[in-house]
């Protein structure tokens, strides 16, 4: 059998700089895909959920809330309506929060009474929220102490990646379709035992 040349005899060089042919792997760069924030939940985080609160005071929003406990739903009540059903609503501060999966949510922290007093659980929650502005924590209600136990993550966890939304837009998204601006609202009617 004829011995075969293993190396090409005339192909030792090409005037092509291979490196210069390289195309970038910048997928999506020209298509401009971005994730839209379409839902923001409201409520205290579950006891297994680590979260952070936004450190800026600009990212908190005072509101009157009505909670429908059966469905775990919150409604924002407009001030003039709130006066009329004051026994059903509660003034809260909504704090922007984020979990480890980058889900944004709002934590309602009840505000002190007019007298300046505050339920110990609410006070405890407010303290936890302050702590969460700098640390990754999860909270669990401790019934005997009427307060929240705070568990801090001890690992080195990256800082949260906040979206560019301001608090107004977060509240808009969170309460879309859940604004009570009339006493005829079905939720109010239901609470008043009229339907």
């Amino acid at each position: 059998m004829k011995a075969l040349p293993i190396t090409p005899k005339a192909a030792s060089s090409l005037a092509v700089d291979v490196k210069s042919l390289r195309l970038p792997a910048n997928y999506g760069a020209t298509l401009g895909v971005k994730k839209l924030l379409t839902s923001v939940s409201v409520g205290k985080p579950e006891k297994s959920r680590f979260f952070r609160c936004h450190p800026s005071s600009e990212m908190a929003f005072m509101a009157m809330l009505l909670e429908q406990k059966e469905s775990h739903e919150y409604y924002v009540v407009m001030p003039d309506i709130a006066q009329a059903i004051s026994e059903l609503v509660r003034p809260v501060m909504l704090h922007a929060a984020i979990d480890r999966q980058n889900n944004v949510f709002l934590i309602p922290v009840p505000l002190p009474e007019d007298s300046g007093t505050r339920h110990s659980a609410h006070e405890s929650l407010a303290q936890a929220v302050e702590y969460a502005k700098l640390h990754w924590i999860r909270i669990a209600y401790n019934k005997p102490t009427s307060g929240y136990d705070v568990y801090e993550a001890m690992g080195v966890i990256p800082e949260p990646e906040w979206s560019a939304h301001d608090i107004d837009s977060l509240v808009d998204i969170a309460f879309r379709g859940k604004v009570i601006d009339s006493l005829d609202h079905p939720v109010v009617q239901s609470f008043l035992g009229r339907i």
């Binding site: 293993i6 042919l21 390289r22 792997a25 480890r100």
Partner: protein, 581 residues
Amino acid sequence: MDATNFSDGIYLLDFEFHPVGGREGNPPLPICMVVREWPSGRTSRHWRGDLQRMAGAPFPTGEKALCVAYYASAEMDCFQALGWAMPVHVLDLFAEFRCATNGLRPAHGSGLLGALLHFNLPSISAEQKDSMRDLVLARGPWDAPEQEAILEYCETDVVALAALLSAMVAQIDWPRALLRGRYMKAVSCIQANGTPLDTPVLKALMANWTSIQDQLICDIDRDYGVYEGRSFKTSLWEEYLIANAIPWPRLASGRLDMCDDTFREMARTYLQVAPIRELRAALSAMRLASLQVGDDGRNRCLLSPYSSQTGRNQPSNSKFIFGPSTWLRGLIRPRPGWGLAYIDWSQQEFGIAAALSGDPAMMEAYRSGDPYMAFAIQAGAAAPSATKHTHEAVREQFKACVLAVQYGMGEASLAVRLNQPVARARQLLELHRRTYRQFWKWSDSAVDEAVLGGRLWTGFGWQIHTGPQVNDRSLRNFPMQANGAEMLRIACILMTEAGIRVCAPVHDALLIEAPLDELDEAIARAQALMQEASRIVLDGFELGSDVKAVRYPARYMDKRGAVMWEKVMNLMDLIEEPEPA
């Protein structure tokens, strides 16, 4: 750059040939060649005697000329058989057609006839083509009319090539197309070289295979009872699984998933599955007669470049020594005075993902030398001082998680793989997402690009079009696999052009050979060129490589197949032992 750059001409080329002695595995013996200049149509025909008298190709092959072929590695094989210098520039319309249509499944396939039909160009019928091919493979002697018919047939291919080039010329990405053509020359060098086998052992295996099969089944199935004769019975396997409480994956139909990948995965978790998996693989994949071995005892077969969607080679499993069961790789043995080296990139897919996504934590993990341990440390699951010796179990879990991400495995599959609750698998996958945020953002963008833009591409222009059925897992995996293929191609080009004798490319590895006194130097050069290939593909990011060297008289052995190889060799010794008088 375009077609006008080739001032010495563009030459469309086709050879007719058959393997020397008619034996697959031998190099080609060229019968005739037809060359057609494009676009003038000037054509020349050359019969065997003419070709053998020529010291080189009868047309320009230098820097200013272009050689065009369909499946050019075959033409380059003929160049080598004739002792001709290969052309500097090769354009392979097969590679270009595959690249242009990858993912779209052209209706008539990717052969020359399929490409012609794709562009509504005239062609001879498949029956005509087959009949002429049979005439060539009959090895002659051919009378004058037959010679004329073969030359005429050969010319129809270059006429078809001319029409095809005219149809495709406007869409050719010239610099990258020439790089693909350059790889076809490397493929030809590798195919010509082939892989040395221990032919006496191969012959003995073939002669005794039936007895060996029976004895293997008898030995191994004793503990399982799932064979009836030489048939594996799924119903008996199901009974075995129930009796041994092994939760086996099922298909959507509810039937047991019996593919080899599933057996392999399950064997990692349930060790008792391993022997039966090896037996099944050994029996089903072993078609020894199909293995293509030349007269010189070297395994040579078509490497089938650009055949898979990722652009990887896809040689026939039954013809390629690296195709069948891993234990059969024990047949690979250097010839006397020579050595072999199997060199693979270290954690290639992880490195590619890190570099292309630009994820700093992932790149840092790769550079640590042990990305799995580094991932565990980065995720906070192990102390910074942890090593694979101090945290073996943790490392194994994080390794499984990395591989699961690469394979697109979900939490349920990972849980089975780890033999851990689904919650643990979920946790690990979540840790991967958190630790390598940049990678995941890039991976999500790849899917967006494929779905919205209709295609994905590699650093050197191999592309996949997104068909109507979008497979998220394949799309996410494409950049790693396809850029890995680019890296291998560039390494093959660099190494063959540097004179390194490459025996075979194997996924993310290359098998090379050298005389024993040059082996260490050849390994060092090959590793340096593989590093260079990684830098080229990954924009400067460097991947390391691992080497397994084998020096004659030792044989190559894949550790996954070592036990089965031992078992088969012992059986063969017993079978061949002469009966006492």
